[in-house]
Protein backbone atom coordinates (compact mmCIF):
# COMPACT_ATOMS: atom_id res chain seq x y z
CA UNK A 1 0.00 0.00 0.00
CA UNK A 2 2.95 2.29 0.36
CA UNK A 3 3.62 2.23 -3.34
CA UNK A 4 1.16 5.01 -3.89
CA UNK A 5 2.53 7.99 -5.65
CA UNK A 6 6.04 6.68 -5.89
CA UNK A 7 7.36 5.50 -9.19
CA UNK A 8 10.82 4.17 -8.64
CA UNK A 9 13.81 5.96 -10.03
CA UNK A 10 14.42 3.09 -12.45
CA UNK A 11 12.02 4.51 -15.03
CA UNK A 12 14.53 7.15 -16.00
CA UNK A 13 17.58 4.94 -15.75
CA UNK A 14 18.00 3.43 -19.20
CA UNK A 15 21.35 2.41 -20.63
CA UNK A 16 23.85 5.10 -21.52
CA UNK A 17 25.35 4.75 -24.98
CA UNK A 18 29.10 4.26 -25.05
CA UNK A 19 30.26 6.83 -27.56
CA UNK A 20 32.48 9.90 -27.39
CA UNK A 21 36.12 9.25 -28.21
CA UNK A 22 37.88 12.20 -26.55
CA UNK A 23 37.41 14.03 -23.30
CA UNK A 24 35.62 17.11 -24.67
CA UNK A 25 33.12 14.92 -26.49
CA UNK A 26 32.60 12.90 -23.37
CA UNK A 27 32.05 16.06 -21.32
CA UNK A 28 29.42 17.36 -23.73
CA UNK A 29 27.80 13.96 -23.84
CA UNK A 30 27.69 13.53 -20.09
CA UNK A 31 26.27 17.03 -19.72
CA UNK A 32 23.65 16.14 -22.29
CA UNK A 33 22.93 12.89 -20.45
CA UNK A 34 22.46 14.73 -17.21
CA UNK A 35 20.27 17.42 -18.71
CA UNK A 36 18.28 14.91 -20.73
CA UNK A 37 16.34 13.78 -17.70
CA UNK A 38 15.13 17.38 -17.31
CA UNK A 39 13.89 17.84 -20.89
CA UNK A 40 10.58 16.16 -20.22
CA UNK A 41 9.89 18.13 -17.06
CA UNK A 42 10.89 21.43 -18.68
CA UNK A 43 8.69 20.73 -21.70
CA UNK A 44 5.80 19.90 -19.41
CA UNK A 45 6.21 23.11 -17.43
CA UNK A 46 6.51 25.17 -20.63
CA UNK A 47 3.33 23.58 -21.99
CA UNK A 48 1.60 24.39 -18.73
CA UNK A 49 2.64 28.03 -19.11
CA UNK A 50 1.54 28.53 -22.72
CA UNK A 51 -1.50 26.23 -22.87
CA UNK A 52 -3.98 28.86 -21.57
CA UNK A 53 -2.71 31.41 -24.10
CA UNK A 54 -3.12 28.93 -26.94
CA UNK A 55 -6.62 28.14 -25.75
CA UNK A 56 -5.81 24.50 -25.02
CA UNK A 57 -6.93 24.77 -21.41
CA UNK A 58 -9.14 27.12 -19.48
CA UNK A 59 -6.87 29.57 -17.66
CA UNK A 60 -9.38 29.94 -14.88
CA UNK A 61 -9.08 26.29 -13.85
CA UNK A 62 -5.49 25.58 -14.84
CA UNK A 63 -3.77 28.94 -14.44
CA UNK A 64 -0.44 29.44 -16.25
CA UNK A 65 2.67 28.65 -14.28
CA UNK A 66 3.67 32.30 -13.96
CA UNK A 67 0.51 33.09 -12.01
CA UNK A 68 1.21 30.20 -9.65
CA UNK A 69 4.81 31.28 -9.16
CA UNK A 70 3.65 34.85 -8.50
CA UNK A 71 1.26 33.65 -5.83
CA UNK A 72 3.95 31.45 -4.31
CA UNK A 73 6.26 34.50 -4.27
CA UNK A 74 3.61 36.47 -2.42
CA UNK A 75 3.24 33.72 0.18
CA UNK A 76 6.98 33.38 0.59
CA UNK A 77 7.47 37.15 0.88
CA UNK A 78 5.01 37.52 3.74
CA UNK A 79 6.42 34.43 5.42
CA UNK A 80 3.14 32.54 5.47
CA UNK A 81 4.49 29.76 3.31
CA UNK A 82 7.18 28.85 5.82
CA UNK A 83 4.65 28.68 8.63
CA UNK A 84 2.73 26.04 6.67
CA UNK A 85 5.87 24.11 5.72
CA UNK A 86 7.15 24.22 9.29
CA UNK A 87 3.93 22.98 10.84
CA UNK A 88 3.66 20.17 8.26
CA UNK A 89 7.27 19.15 8.83
CA UNK A 90 6.81 19.26 12.58
CA UNK A 91 3.80 16.95 12.46
CA UNK A 92 5.35 14.41 10.12
CA UNK A 93 8.64 14.36 12.01
CA UNK A 94 7.02 13.88 15.42
CA UNK A 95 4.67 11.18 14.15
CA UNK A 96 7.43 9.39 12.32
CA UNK A 97 9.81 9.69 15.25
CA UNK A 98 7.25 8.16 17.61
CA UNK A 99 6.61 5.33 15.16
CA UNK A 100 10.34 4.63 14.78
CA UNK A 101 10.93 4.72 18.53
CA UNK A 102 8.04 2.33 19.10
CA UNK A 103 8.42 -0.01 16.15
CA UNK A 104 12.16 -0.66 15.74
CA UNK A 105 13.08 -1.63 19.33
CA UNK A 106 9.84 -3.57 19.74
CA UNK A 107 10.32 -5.38 16.43
CA UNK A 108 13.93 -6.26 17.18
CA UNK A 109 13.12 -7.44 20.72
CA UNK A 110 10.14 -9.46 19.62
CA UNK A 111 11.75 -11.21 16.67
CA UNK A 112 15.23 -11.47 18.16
CA UNK A 113 14.29 -13.01 21.50
CA UNK A 114 10.82 -14.51 21.03
CA UNK A 115 10.77 -16.08 17.56
CA UNK A 116 7.82 -18.36 18.36
CA UNK A 117 5.71 -15.53 19.71
CA UNK A 118 6.63 -13.51 16.63
CA UNK A 119 5.45 -16.32 14.35
CA UNK A 120 2.22 -16.41 16.31
CA UNK A 121 1.65 -12.64 16.17
CA UNK A 122 2.82 -12.08 12.60
CA UNK A 123 -0.49 -12.76 10.77
CA UNK A 124 -2.29 -10.34 13.08
CA UNK A 125 0.36 -7.64 12.58
CA UNK A 126 0.18 -8.06 8.80
CA UNK A 127 -3.61 -7.77 8.82
CA UNK A 128 -3.43 -4.69 11.04
CA UNK A 129 -0.91 -3.22 8.63
CA UNK A 130 -3.21 -3.95 5.70
CA UNK A 131 -6.09 -2.00 7.18
CA UNK A 132 -6.78 1.10 5.13
CA UNK A 133 -5.96 3.98 7.51
CA UNK A 134 -8.48 6.13 5.66
CA UNK A 135 -11.17 3.77 6.85
CA UNK A 136 -9.97 4.38 10.40
CA UNK A 137 -10.15 8.18 10.09
CA UNK A 138 -13.66 8.46 11.56
CA UNK A 139 -12.59 6.20 14.42
CA UNK A 140 -9.53 8.30 15.16
CA UNK A 141 -11.61 11.46 15.16
CA UNK A 142 -14.07 9.75 17.48
CA UNK A 143 -11.33 8.67 19.88
CA UNK A 144 -8.94 11.63 19.76
CA UNK A 145 -11.10 14.55 18.65
CA UNK A 146 -10.06 16.87 15.85
CA UNK A 147 -6.99 18.40 17.49
CA UNK A 148 -3.27 17.85 17.05
CA UNK A 149 -3.45 14.50 18.84
CA UNK A 150 -5.67 12.92 16.18
CA UNK A 151 -3.32 13.96 13.38
CA UNK A 152 -0.27 12.62 15.20
CA UNK A 153 -2.13 9.40 15.97
CA UNK A 154 -3.03 8.93 12.30
CA UNK A 155 0.56 9.51 11.16
CA UNK A 156 1.88 7.28 13.93
CA UNK A 157 -0.53 4.44 13.16
CA UNK A 158 -0.03 4.52 9.41
CA UNK A 159 3.77 4.54 9.55
CA UNK A 160 4.03 2.12 12.49
CA UNK A 161 3.15 -1.07 10.64
CA UNK A 162 5.46 -0.84 7.61
CA UNK A 163 8.39 -0.16 9.97
CA UNK A 164 7.41 -2.89 12.44
CA UNK A 165 6.71 -5.56 9.82
CA UNK A 166 9.91 -4.88 7.89
CA UNK A 167 11.95 -4.89 11.11
CA UNK A 168 10.52 -8.28 12.06
CA UNK A 169 11.08 -9.59 8.55
CA UNK A 170 14.68 -8.37 8.55
CA UNK A 171 15.59 -9.95 11.89
CA UNK A 172 13.80 -13.21 11.10
CA UNK A 173 15.54 -13.53 7.73
CA UNK A 174 19.15 -13.01 8.78
CA UNK A 175 21.22 -15.62 6.95
CA UNK A 176 21.65 -18.46 9.51
CA UNK A 177 25.07 -19.25 8.07
CA UNK A 178 26.30 -15.84 9.23
CA UNK A 179 25.12 -16.51 12.77
CA UNK A 180 26.62 -20.01 12.77
CA UNK A 181 29.91 -18.70 11.45
CA UNK A 182 30.07 -16.01 14.13
CA UNK A 183 29.18 -18.56 16.82
CA UNK A 184 31.77 -21.05 15.63
CA UNK A 185 34.35 -18.30 15.87
CA UNK A 186 33.41 -17.86 19.50
CA UNK A 187 31.27 -14.73 19.38
CA UNK A 188 29.05 -14.24 22.39
CA UNK A 189 25.31 -13.55 22.29
CA UNK A 190 25.67 -9.80 22.61
CA UNK A 191 28.39 -9.74 19.99
CA UNK A 192 26.30 -11.75 17.53
CA UNK A 193 23.38 -9.44 18.13
CA UNK A 194 25.29 -6.19 17.56
CA UNK A 195 27.79 -7.33 14.94
CA UNK A 196 25.72 -9.78 12.87
CA UNK A 197 21.98 -9.53 13.40
CA UNK A 198 21.65 -5.75 13.41
CA UNK A 199 23.82 -5.01 10.35
CA UNK A 200 22.15 -7.86 8.44
CA UNK A 201 18.66 -6.65 9.31
CA UNK A 202 19.38 -2.95 8.80
CA UNK A 203 18.66 -2.80 5.04
CA UNK A 204 15.22 -4.31 5.61
CA UNK A 205 14.58 -1.99 8.55
CA UNK A 206 15.53 0.94 6.36
CA UNK A 207 13.15 -0.20 3.61
CA UNK A 208 10.43 -0.25 6.24
CA UNK A 209 11.42 3.22 7.37
CA UNK A 210 11.27 4.51 3.80
CA UNK A 211 7.80 3.07 3.29
CA UNK A 212 6.73 4.42 6.65
CA UNK A 213 7.99 7.89 5.73
CA UNK A 214 6.13 7.83 2.39
CA UNK A 215 2.92 6.75 4.06
CA UNK A 216 3.37 9.26 6.89
CA UNK A 217 3.63 12.07 4.35
CA UNK A 218 0.55 10.89 2.48
CA UNK A 219 -1.54 10.76 5.63
CA UNK A 220 -0.16 14.03 6.93
CA UNK A 221 -1.77 15.82 4.01
CA UNK A 222 -4.99 13.86 4.39
CA UNK A 223 -5.16 14.64 8.10
CA UNK A 224 -4.45 18.31 7.53
CA UNK A 225 -7.21 18.52 4.95
CA UNK A 226 -9.73 17.08 7.36
CA UNK A 227 -9.00 19.52 10.16
CA UNK A 228 -6.16 21.95 10.76
CA UNK A 229 -5.40 25.64 10.83
CA UNK A 230 -1.88 25.47 9.41
CA UNK A 231 0.11 23.17 7.17
CA UNK A 232 0.35 22.53 3.44
CA UNK A 233 -2.69 20.26 3.39
CA UNK A 234 -4.66 23.03 5.05
CA UNK A 235 -3.32 25.51 2.50
CA UNK A 236 -4.74 23.42 -0.35
CA UNK A 237 -8.01 22.71 1.38
CA UNK A 238 -8.57 26.31 2.40
CA UNK A 239 -7.73 27.62 -1.08
CA UNK A 240 -10.13 25.10 -2.54
CA UNK A 241 -12.93 26.16 -0.17
CA UNK A 242 -12.34 29.83 -1.04
CA UNK A 243 -12.02 28.99 -4.74
CA UNK A 244 -8.65 30.71 -4.87
CA UNK A 245 -7.32 28.60 -7.69
CA UNK A 246 -3.62 29.57 -8.09
CA UNK A 247 -3.09 28.86 -4.40
CA UNK A 248 -4.39 25.29 -4.78
CA UNK A 249 -1.62 24.66 -7.28
CA UNK A 250 0.94 26.38 -5.03
CA UNK A 251 0.00 23.96 -2.28
CA UNK A 252 0.01 20.91 -4.54
CA UNK A 253 3.42 21.78 -6.00
CA UNK A 254 4.78 22.66 -2.55
CA UNK A 255 3.71 19.27 -1.21
CA UNK A 256 5.27 17.47 -4.18
CA UNK A 257 8.57 19.35 -3.84
CA UNK A 258 8.68 18.85 -0.06
CA UNK A 259 7.93 15.14 -0.52
CA UNK A 260 10.67 14.78 -3.13
CA UNK A 261 13.15 16.60 -0.92
CA UNK A 262 12.24 14.32 1.93
CA UNK A 263 12.76 11.22 -0.23
CA UNK A 264 16.12 12.50 -1.48
CA UNK A 265 17.28 13.17 2.07
CA UNK A 266 16.32 9.67 3.18
CA UNK A 267 18.07 8.11 0.17
CA UNK A 268 21.22 10.07 1.00
CA UNK A 269 21.12 8.91 4.62
CA UNK A 270 20.61 5.34 3.44
CA UNK A 271 23.68 5.57 1.22
CA UNK A 272 25.79 6.75 4.16
CA UNK A 273 24.36 4.31 6.63
CA UNK A 274 24.30 1.19 4.48
CA UNK A 275 27.58 1.60 2.65
CA UNK A 276 28.40 -2.06 3.34
CA UNK A 277 25.37 -3.36 1.51
CA UNK A 278 25.73 -4.72 -2.03
CA UNK A 279 23.75 -2.91 -4.68
CA UNK A 280 20.97 -5.02 -6.08
CA UNK A 281 20.51 -4.43 -9.78
CA UNK A 282 17.31 -5.49 -11.43
CA UNK A 283 18.44 -5.44 -15.01
Amino acid sequence: MAEIGTVGPTIGGALTPQIGSNKADAAVLSFNQRVMSWYGIIAFLLLWQIAPYLGLTDGRFIPPLSEIVADAGKLIANGEFFVHVASSCQRVLIGLFLAVVAAIPFGILLSGFFPRLTRFLNPLLIILGNINPFALFPLFILLFGVGEMAKLAIIFWSSLFPILNFTIYGVMHVDPILIKAARSMGAGKANIFWKVVIPAALPSIFTGFKMGATVAFLFLIAAEMLSANAGLGYLVHNASLNNYIPRIYVGVLGIAILGMGFTMLINQVEKLLLSYKDEVKVT
Binding site: M36, P123, I255
Partner: protein, 261 residues
Protein backbone atom coordinates in the same frame (compact mmCIF):
# COMPACT_ATOMS: atom_id res chain seq x y z
CA UNK B 1 -2.46 -39.43 7.84
CA UNK B 2 -0.11 -39.99 10.74
CA UNK B 3 -0.38 -38.39 14.14
CA UNK B 4 2.72 -36.37 13.34
CA UNK B 5 1.35 -34.72 10.23
CA UNK B 6 -1.96 -34.09 11.99
CA UNK B 7 -0.05 -32.40 14.75
CA UNK B 8 1.82 -30.34 12.18
CA UNK B 9 -1.31 -29.19 10.36
CA UNK B 10 -2.81 -28.22 13.66
CA UNK B 11 0.33 -26.29 14.52
CA UNK B 12 0.19 -24.47 11.19
CA UNK B 13 -3.43 -23.49 11.69
CA UNK B 14 -2.61 -22.35 15.20
CA UNK B 15 0.21 -20.15 14.01
CA UNK B 16 -1.76 -18.77 11.11
CA UNK B 17 -5.04 -17.86 12.81
CA UNK B 18 -4.29 -18.07 16.54
CA UNK B 19 -3.34 -14.44 17.05
CA UNK B 20 -6.30 -13.17 15.04
CA UNK B 21 -8.77 -15.29 16.98
CA UNK B 22 -7.15 -14.23 20.25
CA UNK B 23 -7.39 -10.57 19.22
CA UNK B 24 -11.12 -10.90 18.52
CA UNK B 25 -11.67 -12.74 21.81
CA UNK B 26 -9.85 -10.06 23.81
CA UNK B 27 -11.84 -7.38 22.00
CA UNK B 28 -15.11 -9.10 22.84
CA UNK B 29 -14.08 -9.65 26.44
CA UNK B 30 -13.02 -6.03 26.88
CA UNK B 31 -16.39 -4.92 25.56
CA UNK B 32 -18.53 -7.26 27.61
CA UNK B 33 -16.69 -6.54 30.85
CA UNK B 34 -17.10 -2.82 30.23
CA UNK B 35 -13.37 -2.20 30.01
CA UNK B 36 -13.85 -0.62 26.59
CA UNK B 37 -16.70 1.92 26.81
CA UNK B 38 -19.70 1.06 24.68
CA UNK B 39 -19.98 4.65 23.49
CA UNK B 40 -16.67 4.35 21.63
CA UNK B 41 -16.07 0.70 20.86
CA UNK B 42 -18.51 -1.74 19.32
CA UNK B 43 -17.97 -5.36 20.29
CA UNK B 44 -17.52 -8.09 17.64
CA UNK B 45 -20.95 -9.52 18.54
CA UNK B 46 -22.61 -6.16 17.96
CA UNK B 47 -20.75 -5.79 14.65
CA UNK B 48 -21.95 -9.20 13.49
CA UNK B 49 -25.51 -8.36 14.47
CA UNK B 50 -25.33 -5.02 12.63
CA UNK B 51 -23.76 -6.71 9.63
CA UNK B 52 -26.62 -9.21 9.52
CA UNK B 53 -29.18 -6.46 9.83
CA UNK B 54 -27.68 -4.35 7.03
CA UNK B 55 -27.18 -7.42 4.86
CA UNK B 56 -30.90 -8.19 5.21
CA UNK B 57 -32.17 -4.74 4.27
CA UNK B 58 -29.77 -4.59 1.30
CA UNK B 59 -28.19 -1.21 2.09
CA UNK B 60 -24.76 -2.72 2.66
CA UNK B 61 -24.94 -4.63 -0.61
CA UNK B 62 -25.95 -1.52 -2.55
CA UNK B 63 -23.14 0.62 -1.14
CA UNK B 64 -20.53 -2.09 -1.66
CA UNK B 65 -21.54 -2.58 -5.28
CA UNK B 66 -21.35 1.15 -5.93
CA UNK B 67 -17.90 1.39 -4.35
CA UNK B 68 -16.57 -1.63 -6.18
CA UNK B 69 -17.87 -0.44 -9.53
CA UNK B 70 -16.19 2.94 -9.10
CA UNK B 71 -12.91 1.26 -8.23
CA UNK B 72 -13.36 -1.14 -11.14
CA UNK B 73 -13.94 1.53 -13.80
CA UNK B 74 -10.95 3.59 -12.68
CA UNK B 75 -8.78 0.50 -12.52
CA UNK B 76 -9.79 -0.81 -15.96
CA UNK B 77 -9.18 2.59 -17.55
CA UNK B 78 -5.74 2.70 -15.94
CA UNK B 79 -4.92 -0.81 -17.21
CA UNK B 80 -5.97 0.09 -20.76
CA UNK B 81 -3.80 3.21 -20.76
CA UNK B 82 -0.82 2.30 -18.59
CA UNK B 83 0.07 -1.24 -19.64
CA UNK B 84 0.59 -0.52 -23.37
CA UNK B 85 2.31 2.75 -22.50
CA UNK B 86 4.62 1.00 -20.05
CA UNK B 87 5.45 -1.65 -22.65
CA UNK B 88 6.27 1.02 -25.20
CA UNK B 89 8.41 2.98 -22.77
CA UNK B 90 10.28 -0.05 -21.56
CA UNK B 91 10.69 -1.77 -24.92
CA UNK B 92 10.65 0.29 -28.06
CA UNK B 93 11.34 3.93 -27.38
CA UNK B 94 14.33 3.88 -25.06
CA UNK B 95 15.44 7.45 -25.69
CA UNK B 96 11.89 8.73 -25.48
CA UNK B 97 11.70 6.99 -22.14
CA UNK B 98 14.83 8.78 -20.95
CA UNK B 99 13.10 12.08 -21.60
CA UNK B 100 9.63 11.25 -20.37
CA UNK B 101 10.64 8.93 -17.52
CA UNK B 102 11.67 11.67 -15.06
CA UNK B 103 8.51 13.59 -15.89
CA UNK B 104 6.45 10.52 -15.04
CA UNK B 105 8.41 10.05 -11.82
CA UNK B 106 7.75 13.71 -11.01
CA UNK B 107 4.03 13.35 -11.70
CA UNK B 108 3.87 10.14 -9.71
CA UNK B 109 5.30 11.98 -6.70
CA UNK B 110 2.25 14.21 -6.45
CA UNK B 111 0.31 13.54 -3.31
CA UNK B 112 -3.01 12.11 -4.57
CA UNK B 113 -4.83 13.54 -1.61
CA UNK B 114 -3.65 17.07 -2.37
CA UNK B 115 -4.56 16.60 -6.02
CA UNK B 116 -8.08 15.78 -4.97
CA UNK B 117 -8.88 19.48 -4.76
CA UNK B 118 -7.65 19.92 -8.33
CA UNK B 119 -9.74 16.99 -9.51
CA UNK B 120 -12.84 18.43 -7.87
CA UNK B 121 -12.09 21.71 -9.56
CA UNK B 122 -11.65 20.18 -13.00
CA UNK B 123 -14.27 17.44 -12.98
CA UNK B 124 -16.85 18.55 -10.42
CA UNK B 125 -18.14 16.38 -7.60
CA UNK B 126 -19.89 13.77 -9.75
CA UNK B 127 -18.96 10.19 -10.51
CA UNK B 128 -16.37 11.25 -13.03
CA UNK B 129 -14.04 12.95 -10.56
CA UNK B 130 -13.94 9.84 -8.38
CA UNK B 131 -13.21 7.56 -11.33
CA UNK B 132 -10.55 10.02 -12.57
CA UNK B 133 -8.97 10.03 -9.13
CA UNK B 134 -8.79 6.23 -9.02
CA UNK B 135 -7.49 6.18 -12.59
CA UNK B 136 -4.70 8.58 -11.61
CA UNK B 137 -3.49 6.61 -8.60
CA UNK B 138 -3.67 3.22 -10.35
CA UNK B 139 -1.60 4.35 -13.33
CA UNK B 140 1.74 4.59 -11.52
CA UNK B 141 2.29 1.06 -10.23
CA UNK B 142 1.07 -0.34 -13.57
CA UNK B 143 3.31 1.89 -15.65
CA UNK B 144 6.35 1.22 -13.50
CA UNK B 145 5.91 -2.55 -13.42
CA UNK B 146 5.04 -2.88 -17.12
CA UNK B 147 8.14 -1.00 -18.19
CA UNK B 148 10.32 -2.84 -15.68
CA UNK B 149 8.88 -6.16 -16.88
CA UNK B 150 9.78 -5.45 -20.49
CA UNK B 151 13.26 -4.29 -19.52
CA UNK B 152 13.99 -7.51 -17.67
CA UNK B 153 13.10 -9.82 -20.59
CA UNK B 154 16.13 -11.97 -21.34
CA UNK B 155 17.66 -10.48 -24.54
CA UNK B 156 18.89 -13.96 -25.49
CA UNK B 157 15.29 -15.13 -25.79
CA UNK B 158 14.42 -12.24 -28.08
CA UNK B 159 17.47 -12.81 -30.28
CA UNK B 160 16.73 -16.51 -30.44
CA UNK B 161 13.11 -15.95 -31.43
CA UNK B 162 14.07 -13.36 -34.00
CA UNK B 163 16.72 -15.56 -35.53
CA UNK B 164 14.07 -18.21 -35.98
CA UNK B 165 12.06 -15.70 -38.00
CA UNK B 166 9.45 -14.61 -35.50
CA UNK B 167 7.46 -11.49 -36.41
CA UNK B 168 6.99 -8.47 -34.16
CA UNK B 169 3.48 -9.30 -33.01
CA UNK B 170 4.32 -12.91 -32.26
CA UNK B 171 7.42 -11.74 -30.42
CA UNK B 172 5.21 -9.62 -28.21
CA UNK B 173 2.60 -12.27 -27.48
CA UNK B 174 4.91 -15.27 -27.20
CA UNK B 175 8.04 -13.86 -25.57
CA UNK B 176 7.64 -10.39 -24.10
CA UNK B 177 4.26 -10.74 -22.41
CA UNK B 178 4.87 -14.20 -20.88
CA UNK B 179 8.28 -13.29 -19.51
CA UNK B 180 7.14 -10.01 -18.01
CA UNK B 181 3.90 -11.50 -16.69
CA UNK B 182 4.95 -11.72 -13.07
CA UNK B 183 5.86 -8.03 -13.06
CA UNK B 184 2.58 -7.24 -14.77
CA UNK B 185 0.65 -9.15 -12.16
CA UNK B 186 2.36 -7.45 -9.27
CA UNK B 187 1.55 -4.16 -10.99
CA UNK B 188 -2.08 -5.21 -11.33
CA UNK B 189 -2.26 -6.26 -7.70
CA UNK B 190 -0.69 -3.03 -6.45
CA UNK B 191 -2.90 -0.93 -8.71
CA UNK B 192 -6.08 -2.70 -7.63
CA UNK B 193 -5.08 -2.32 -3.99
CA UNK B 194 -4.32 1.35 -4.52
CA UNK B 195 -7.57 1.89 -6.39
CA UNK B 196 -9.63 0.53 -3.53
CA UNK B 197 -7.41 2.32 -1.03
CA UNK B 198 -7.95 5.77 -2.55
CA UNK B 199 -11.61 5.13 -3.27
CA UNK B 200 -12.44 5.46 0.42
CA UNK B 201 -11.15 9.05 0.87
CA UNK B 202 -12.65 9.98 -2.50
CA UNK B 203 -16.03 8.83 -1.25
CA UNK B 204 -15.51 10.50 2.10
CA UNK B 205 -14.92 13.89 0.51
CA UNK B 206 -17.88 14.10 -1.78
CA UNK B 207 -20.37 11.31 -2.28
CA UNK B 208 -23.84 10.33 -1.22
CA UNK B 209 -23.39 6.59 -1.62
CA UNK B 210 -20.61 4.04 -1.23
CA UNK B 211 -18.67 2.54 1.66
CA UNK B 212 -16.53 5.63 2.34
CA UNK B 213 -19.71 7.70 2.57
CA UNK B 214 -21.28 5.03 4.81
CA UNK B 215 -18.60 5.31 7.48
CA UNK B 216 -18.20 9.08 7.39
CA UNK B 217 -21.98 9.38 7.61
CA UNK B 218 -22.03 6.96 10.54
CA UNK B 219 -19.38 9.02 12.30
CA UNK B 220 -21.26 12.28 11.78
CA UNK B 221 -24.48 10.71 13.07
CA UNK B 222 -22.65 8.95 15.90
CA UNK B 223 -23.82 5.47 14.88
CA UNK B 224 -20.96 3.50 16.41
CA UNK B 225 -22.00 -0.05 15.37
CA UNK B 226 -22.55 1.13 11.80
CA UNK B 227 -19.16 2.83 11.76
CA UNK B 228 -17.34 -0.31 12.91
CA UNK B 229 -19.32 -2.52 10.53
CA UNK B 230 -18.50 -0.32 7.53
CA UNK B 231 -14.84 -0.20 8.52
CA UNK B 232 -14.75 -3.97 8.85
CA UNK B 233 -16.32 -4.45 5.40
CA UNK B 234 -13.71 -2.12 3.87
CA UNK B 235 -10.85 -3.95 5.59
CA UNK B 236 -12.11 -7.38 4.54
CA UNK B 237 -12.71 -6.26 0.95
CA UNK B 238 -9.18 -4.82 0.75
CA UNK B 239 -7.70 -8.11 1.92
CA UNK B 240 -9.93 -10.12 -0.44
CA UNK B 241 -8.85 -8.01 -3.43
CA UNK B 242 -5.21 -8.57 -2.54
CA UNK B 243 -5.65 -12.32 -2.20
CA UNK B 244 -7.69 -12.50 -5.40
CA UNK B 245 -4.84 -11.05 -7.44
CA UNK B 246 -2.27 -13.29 -5.76
CA UNK B 247 -4.48 -16.28 -6.55
CA UNK B 248 -4.95 -15.11 -10.14
CA UNK B 249 -1.21 -14.76 -10.59
CA UNK B 250 -0.63 -18.29 -9.33
CA UNK B 251 -3.26 -19.67 -11.71
CA UNK B 252 -2.18 -17.71 -14.78
CA UNK B 253 1.60 -17.52 -14.49
CA UNK B 254 2.13 -21.26 -14.19
CA UNK B 255 5.48 -21.18 -15.99
CA UNK B 256 7.11 -19.07 -13.29
CA UNK B 257 7.46 -22.06 -10.94
CA UNK B 258 9.22 -24.07 -13.61
CA UNK B 259 11.70 -21.24 -13.99
CA UNK B 260 12.49 -21.31 -10.29
CA UNK B 261 13.42 -24.99 -10.44
Amino acid sequence: MTIDSLYQTFGNIFYRFGAIVLFILVWQLACSTGLAPETFVASPMVIIKTLYQYALDGSLYKNTIISLSRAFYGFILAVVVAVPLGFMLGGWFKSFERIIGPLLTFLGQFNPFALFSVFLLLFGIGEFSKVAMIFWVSIWPLLYNASLGVKTVDPGLIKLARSMGMGRIKLLTKIVIPSSASFLFSGLRLAAGTAFFMLIPAEMMGASRGLGWLIINAQVNYQIPKLYTGTLVIVVLGIVIDYFFRFLEKKVVIWKEAQNL
